[in-house]
Subunit: 100 residues, 2 copies
DNA sequence: TTATCATATCGATATATATCGATATATAGC
DNA sequence: GCTATATATCGATATATATCGATATGATAA
């Protein structure tokens, strides 16, 4: 848990937006899969579509976000699904509160 | 109040440290002035001494911090004193909480 | 096993940030 | 008006970040 590194990742509008969209995947993204109770998040391509940035850029963003642990990545078949890591996000806010 | 810009400013250890030191100026800095109830903060040179970075760098850091309003600057004579802007810092944390 | 698709990584380039020393500005004291 | 002092700004250079297209990797399907 490194505040500086997380702040760097959160110094970009698109990355903040992605985190926000992932709060409500059903309304922000097309349905992922015909599996009930699928709970692994959203695939890279859907996130890419929504931002309009290149595939490599979005993949890079999501890798950054994963490195500081604010998202959880799950590979299923050829897809990688990303969802919020609520635990770490909460911890980050708490740490920020006590640090600032 | 721009989260992205504040996050950029807070993506640096020294700037986070400065904000932390300013929580307790009496113990972190030499006495400022022989005026009782002096409440305008700490001058640039004392902050510079503590960091060991160049005067221009620290002045630049404090200017950045002032631009996003997390510190208050007061010019008295040839000195500029900086202190925390508690109101904005609180607002920032609140906004972050509701955004993330 | 080959072709296809989703994602990750690479390499390049443009832009931003970090940091310094030098210079400018503003104030105070002589 | 000069001089000294504190701070801000400027200009330069090094490093980091943003972003893309191209390529590599890994999985599925034909």
């Amino acid at each position: 848990m490194n505040i500086i590194e997380i702040n760097k990742v959160l110094s970009n509008k698109v990355r903040i937006d992605i985190l926000d969209w992932l709060k409500d995947m059903e309304s922000n993204f097309p349905p992922q899969i015909n599996v009930p109770n699928f709970n692994n998040g959203v695939c890279v391509c859907h996130i890419q579509d929504k931002t309009g940035l290149s595939q490599s850029t979005i993949s890079h963003y999501l890798t950054m976000m994963h490195k500081v642990d604010i998202v959880i990545a799950t590979r299923i078949g050829k897809w990688t699904y990303y969802k919020r890591n609520e635990k770490v996000i909460k911890e980050y806010i708490k740490l920020l509160q006590s640090t600032l």
